[in-house]
Amino acid sequence: MALVMSPKDFATATPSWWCPGCGDFGVLASLKSACAELALNPRDVAFVSGIGCSGKISGYLHSYAFHGVHGRALPVATAVKVANNGLTVIAAGGDGDGFAIGAGHFLHAVRRNPNITYIVMDNQTYGLTKGQSSPTSDLGYVTGTSPSGNPDAPLNGMAVALAAGGTFIARGFSAQPKKLIELIKAAIEHPGFSVVEVMSPCVTFNKHNTFAWFKENVFDVTQIEGYDHTNKQHAFEALTADGKIPLGIIYQSQRAAFDDLVLGDTPPLTTADVYDTGRFRDIQDSYR
């Protein structure tokens, strides 16, 4: 019988550490709703996060949650899926976690295409260390570590994901919960690596990319005439065009998932018989 779940079933008793008004509240609320609407069972959800304000999110989702080291959520999440492909595996992190210290793992996760979901909560700043520039900060962004203005051009993570062979690339805005819930649901249901970048404003340190600024500067990608999200060319143009930021499912395609390729017909590794040690006695015959 299918479970009937409510977002509350995914809540924990742990009080949030986020600042009042933080965009991350919108991401968490949408994630809980998406899990409930998909009728997931918390015991079968593994939720992995990295470090930073975004990394705190794993403490607030009732599940088997893992709060690891900075930038390494994706290797952990990939292996959780390989170890037990019966689990729903979701990873979350910020722009620093995913595009700076963990950028290498991001690329390789995209390339491998494991059947997991990655939510990047992008606030274009380093919140937890009090407002330094991040890989997605605007050029010229003035911070404590860039007093003359950020000299680094921002990284277009979703365009990178597309170039690296991404199979599900979406972007949401934490102030648009209804749309975000649908994006996260579609991402979880996608059979492969799904990345959802959520524009999630930092109300404390980023005084430029605010809720008000985003409201003026985002649009739904479906508003582009004739847009086909299975067309790579369309997706690349939308992601790299100057001007407003496109939201929605930007690109989706299908290819074999990493865990399926690695495992083949192997049942979840957690069910492998480890106790019958004697059956390995004969391997040594090849060393005679």
Binding site: T12, R43, F66, V80
Partner: protein, 585 residues
């Protein structure tokens, strides 16, 4: 001269097939019933550069190299130039003089010279230059009396995959080598009578294969790794075998990913391991602290090579010991095991899997290039008493709210659930947390959590592999060592005993938590103790001094030129009795 104990060295350029030929001769010696040890000394490149492969065979087990080389097969002049000083007086050099001649100043009159146009025989008589290695096999076989039947059978078995023609030309190559000696040289060098007992039910195995095999038997079903010399063999072995036994292997994008992957799989309930060497260990250090903080069982195989940085990528050293024990920010528990032989590599790998899960912490298997990439003969591995003990793993549903993943218990080990278990949902954070996994900076909780995690090392202590103590009657001098030095130390001990200068030997197998009591008792029982290790700074000696203080009866014997000890170097150090002896320099 020692009868029935020979060290053969093949020297030439990397890629010229001397490794294959060396493996073949090792197999023949083994099937002749001899005990074999091999040591690869090769450059960090695929083609070119001097390489040599040492095969030692004797009637008693050898776990290391001899004092000198008895037989050098030199495929070029460089091999003679580099190794002539390592030759035993009375030994013999087989030199391929097709393209080069031995200059007069290089000659030693105490050696037997066999200058043979091996390359020319292969190219002109047999029509295939490639078989010059096999010609050299025939030469050696004739000179030292290798069993011709076994040699032919082995060569046939190795080449039969490549077809009858390839087998045929290699057999003819052996015959050409044998015939050349019969035609051109009157007698064979005296002293080497390699007649041995029947082969029996024995194995010949590389240290890395033994670690991988033991890990599979010990229940490991997930491995992630990044190729690095000299550890790659473990990843390759597991990639071949794990999928056949319900497991999986992932080649990660780097060591940061590899260690986090095994943490992820272990968190999910699958016994997991990685294998790396120094540079990879540096990258994994962050993740190892995470695993220990989260009380997740992982096994890290460290196949040490000479550092720092890239160092000598294909040479042996024991200089990662203190990195393994003390590396990482913060303080956290871990267990470090060090096998001294191929056989011990297998059994300790099983222990490592059990200890990691029972005590929910990282366990290291520390090997070194001179052991992990060496092959040795060993008795058939025993499966008696081999069990998988999953400790406090819970597979039944638990009551949410009551269950505490990091519960304080008497033995400091908490019952562990894995994802999918009803009621066990929790957060596992690398930040300090309370017994339920909630992040907290509370001072009392911090103190208790530190004591809980570190306390597990004391809980584990009685369960850890015991040191091997080799006592000689009447000895008041002792030697302490571990890992690949087991071989040269044991041999030095035998010979010192025979000389009437007996020594005791303590071979440590658990290096962390440090076996304080065993080391203290050993030092108390001896008037002088020599600590033998492949480091510059005396890393093991420092650990020992931390336990026993700055006592004068402790002597350091160190070698750090990238090569393993030869027994004579240890014998000389003990007989000299100086505070610090440097070998090989």
């Amino acid at each position: 001269m020692i009868l029935n104990n020979i060290e053969v060295m093949f020297g030439g350029q990397a890629g010229d097939g001397s490794l294959t030929t060396g493996d073949m001769i090792a197999g023949v010696f083994k099937r002749m019933g001899l005990e074999v040890y091999t040591y690869k000394d090769f450059p960090s490149r695929i083609r070119g550069g001097h390489t040599n492969y040492v095969i030692r065979a004797g009637t008693t087990p050898n776990y290391g190299m001899a004092d000198f080389v008895d037989c050098l097969v030199a495929f070029d002049l460089e091999a003679v130039q580099l190794h002539i000083d390592e030759m035993r007086s009375g030994g013999f050099i087989i030199f391929d003089n097709t393209d080069e001649k031995i200059p007069a100043e290089l000659r030693r009159d105490d050696l037997n010279w066999y200058e043979i146009p091996i390359g020319k025989i292969a190219k002109e008589d047999l029509g295939l230059e490639l078989v010059r290695n096999t010609v050299s096999l025939g030469v050696i076989a004739e000179l030292i009396g290798m069993d011709p039947q076994i040699l032919r059978r082995d060569v046939t078995n190795i080449y039969k995959r490549k077809g009858e023609k390839v087998v045929d030309i290699n057999i003819r190559a052996i015959e050409a080598g044998e015939q050349y000696i019969r035609d051109h040289f009157a007698s064979t060098p005296s002293g080497y009578t390699l007649t041995a007992s029947a082969d029996g039910d024995r194995l010949i195995m590389m240290g890395n294969d033994a670690i991988a095999y033991g890990s599979l038997v010990g229940g490991c079903r997930f491995m992630a790794g990044y190729p690095i010399t000299p550890a790659t063999d473990v990843l390759e072995w597991m990639a071949k075998h794990l999928p056949q036994h319900g497991g999986a292997v992932v080649q990660a994008e780097d060591e940061l990913a590899a260690v986090n992957m095994i943490i992820g799989a272990a968190f999910t309930g699958v016994r997991s391991m990685t294998a790396t060497s120094g540079p990879g260990l540096s990258l994994m250090t962050e993740g190892i602290g995470l695993a220990s903080s989260l009380e997740i069982p992982i096994v890290i195989v460290e196949c040490a090579r000479a550092g720092p940085s890239t160092g000598l990528p294909t040479k042996t050293e024991q200089s990662n010991l203190q990195h393994i024990i003390f590396g990482g920010h913060g303080e956290f528990p871990k267990i470090v095991l060090a096998p001294g032989t191929v056989e011990e590599s297998f059994y300790l790998a099983i222990d490592a899997q059990n200890l990691a899960e029972k005590y929910q912490m990282p366990v290291f298997i520390l090997s070194e290039q001179a052991l992990c990439q060496s092959k040795a003969t060993l008795p058939r591995l025993s499966f008696e008493g081999v069990e998988v003990d999953r400790g406090k793993l819970i597979t039944e549903p638990v009551v949410f709210g009551e269950y505490r993943r990091f519960a304080f218990t008497e033995d400091h080990v908490s019952p562990r659930v894995i994802p999918g278990t009803e009621g066990g949902m929790h957060l596992a954070p690398g930040s300090e947390h309370n017994d339920g996994g909630v992040i907290t900076e509370n001072a009392d909780n911090r103190k208790r959590m530190m004591e809980k995690r570190m306390g597990k090392m004391e809980t584990a202590r009685p369960d850890l592999p015991k040191a091997n103590l080799f006592v000689s009657p009447g000895a008041r001098v002792g030697i302490i060592g571990y890992g690949s030095n087991r071989g040269p130390i044991a041999e030095a001990q035998d010979r010192l005993n025979q000389m009437g200068e007996p020594v005791n030997f303590l071979q440590l197998k658990t290096l962390w938590p440090f076996p304080d009591d065993d080391v203290k008792a050993f030092i108390e029982a001896n008037d002088h103790v020599y600590v033998v290790e492949n480091t510059y700074t005396g890393q093991l000696a420092r650990l020992i001094r931390h336990v026993v203080g700055p006592i004068e009866k402790l002597h350091d014997v160190r070698k750090y030129n990238g090569r393993p000890f030869r027994p004579i170097e240890i014998i000389d150090a003990v007989r000299t009795g100086s505070a610090v002896s440097l070998a090989g320099v």
